[in-house]
């Protein structure tokens, strides 16, 4: 009997460090964050914080800056998801096609390298690439006779600039997921359709796309959650500007925190968390358990 107990106890010992870290740096801060969202900012860090109910939530929902940031976040997310997944789908199909034989690995490496490049370094380089006087981008546009690009200096193009930099950093991952799916596709089906007289487009729509459903779903959910949380690129390139054009929710919350508005900052965090959880639950209900990690949990665990 004693031996049986030891046998089980040892598992708790194995899990102990993991449990301690999860409690200290995970659950405790989350609870703290939610608690703070219900308190007055000035008293939030005091031993006896003053609870104000939903006042912080009411305040942010009445705040035009937050509402604008919510709108910008949603708009940016839709654009970024479409651009990244669309590009990755097309490029992966090209890399997988019979047209590309040699050098496939090198082409794959080129597009994946930015994924493992520290995001701060990548975005710093992009910030300067877009620069009006230093940047290579405007110099190149000038050479080919095209009008200059406003980059991060103009409210009209700031979001697009960020999107380009983020596509550079993230798209390789989506390409890789599509390539993994293409590798397990049944090539014979495509050949059979070819013999039956289907043209390239028909083969793509009725033979290849249906087989790519797993990767399309994964990439869509992954990208959706990734771009809802957009943060680093804003910190490095625009600081939310110009004119709040790139002031997304996570950055707006961080600014609130920086100004000591802890209550409103954590209320924003809780709202964003709620949106992400809703998307996650929605997808989770529509998938079988075996794929749940990839479809729901892993994308939700993405850092900014």
């Amino acid at each position: 009997m004693g031996k049986m107990l030891d046998r089980e106890a040892v598992f708790y010992l194995f899990a102990l460090p993991f449990a301690v870290l999860t409690l200290l740096f995970g659950l405790w801060p989350i609870l703290l964050s939610i608690e703070v969202s219900f308190t007055a900012s000035a008293t939030a860090l005091k031993p006896m914080p003053a609870f104000v109910g939903l006042a912080n939530y009411a305040a942010i929902l009445a705040d035009p800056v937050f509402l604008a940031s919510l709108w910008h976040t949603l708009l940016y997310t839709v654009l970024a998801v479409a651009a990244n997944v669309g590009f990755a789908l097309g490029y992966a199909i090209l890399l997988d096609s019979a047209l590309i034989q040699r050098g496939r690995t090198l082409l794959k490496l080129a597009v994946f390298l930015p994924v493992v490049t520290p995001d701060i370094a990548g975005y710093v380089v992009w910030r300067w690439l877009f620069d009006q006087s230093f940047g290579a981008l405007n110099a190149a546009l000038k050479v080919v006779g095209l009008p200059g690009f406003g980059g991060i200096a103009s409210p009209a193009t700031a979001m697009l600039s960020i999107l380009i930099a983020e596509l550079w950093h993230h798209a390789g991952f989506y390409v890789l997921i599509f390539l993994a799916n293409l590798a397990v596709c049944d090539k014979a089906l495509s050949e059979a359709a070819d013999i039956d007289g289907a043209n390239r487009w028909q083969r793509f729509v009725s033979v290849i796309l249906p087989q790519l459903r797993p990767a399309i779903t994964i990439n869509l959910v992954y990208a959706l959650i990734q771009f809802l949380k957009t943060f680093s690129v804003v910190v490095v390139m625009t600081k939310g500007g110009p004119n709040d054009a790139t002031n997304f929710i996570s950055y707006a919350a961080w600014q609130m925190f920086d100004q000591g508005e802890y209550g409103q900052a954590t209320a924003m965090a809780t709202v964003l968390f709620g949106v992400v959880i809703l998307i996650g639950l929605g997808t989770y209900r529509a998938t079988d358990r075996g794929r749940a990690w990839w479809l729901v949990l892993r994308p939700m665990c993405l850092p900014a």
């Binding site: 040892v10 964050s33 590309i100 390298l113 710093v124 230093f134 110099a139 390789g172 890789l176 892993r298």
Partner: protein
């Protein structure tokens, strides 16, 4: 034939666009502000000078060597810790999936990982303050030792362990510690290597928790120092690029050496036939 040439031209163009920022960054580290302003598109520096790398010896009140050593030390220690803590945790949770405490722990961990990261870091600051870990290496390293990808890769691996192996060892009288260290871990070597490399890449790039938990620049890593310089100096373009180069080289080299492992690990289990 025409289609093939077009395909290669297009693919090479895309690759060049993805790689150009690296070239531009390296050139920027070797060319002076004046040289860049007069010829922004040059593909080769006018002369090779390591002046910029000397000029970043002191970045925003922090010695460059200190930031480099911080990066290496914090990344290495937190990666080793992440491998040990997550391997043990994931192993226990996979072997006893129905234990109530473990189900709660798994749920709590995943909830933590789902919480918007940059917003989790904010209350972590308060927690670090309460624990007296603010401004020290301990807090940074401990925080970086938890990660979802690590947990997932170990869990995936431990789930595929054949039950017969463990049962046979149990019948032979081996206790759980022996089973883990003598039987399971030797089999887990490849996944341990993958997790260690991926964690190194991820933690090297970490900046936000490092910045928030640091009380002074003394514990800044390279990405944080880079962010700082980018904001403060503004126009010391050459120094910024030199710092970006140094921040980029280690993970890029590690990735190129271990590319199969990294790309395999990052997409592990994404698409099954």
């Amino acid at each position: 034939m025409v289609a093939r040439v077009a395909a290669y031209v297009f693919a090479c163009l895309i690759s060049v666009l993805f790689l150009y920022p690296y070239l531009w960054m390296v050139l920027g580290a070797f060319r002076s502000t004046q040289e860049i302003l007069s010829a922004p598109l040059r593909l080769w520096p006018e002369h090779v000078s390591f002046e910029a790398f000397r000029s970043i010896a002191d970045v925003g009140g922090l010695s460059f060597m200190r930031a480099l050593l911080n990066s290496v030390g914090i990344t290495a220690v937190s990666s080793v810790l992440a491998v040990v803590v997550t391997a043990l945790g994931a192993y226990a949770l996979t072997r006893r999936p129905d234990a109530l405490a473990f189900r709660l722990l798994r749920g709590g961990f995943l909830l933590t990982m789902m919480y918007p990261y940059m917003l989790l870091v904010i209350p972590v600051y308060i927690v670090m303050y309460k624990l007296g870990l603010l401004g020290g290496y301990t807090g940074i390293v401990l925080f970086l030792a938890l990660g979802p990808v690590q947990f997932f890769l170990f869990e995936q691996f431990f789930r595929t362990l054949p039950n017969e192996v463990i049962e046979a060892a149990t019948i032979d009288g081996a206790d759980e510690t022996t089973i883990l260290f003598r039987i399971v871990l030797p089999m887990a070597r490849p996944v341990v290597a993958t997790v260690a490399i991926i964690t190194f890449l991820l933690n090297w790039a970490q900046w936000f928790p490092v910045m928030v938990i640091s009380a002074t620049p003394d514990t800044y890593t390279l990405p944080v120092a880079l962010l700082n310089v980018n904001g403060e100096l503004g126009t010391d373009f050459q120094g910024i690029m030199a710092l970006a180069v140094v921040t980029t080289i280690p993970p890029v080299l590690l990735f190129l050496v271990a590319q199969r492992r990294v790309m395999g690990g990052m997409t592990e289990g994404a698409v099954k036939g």
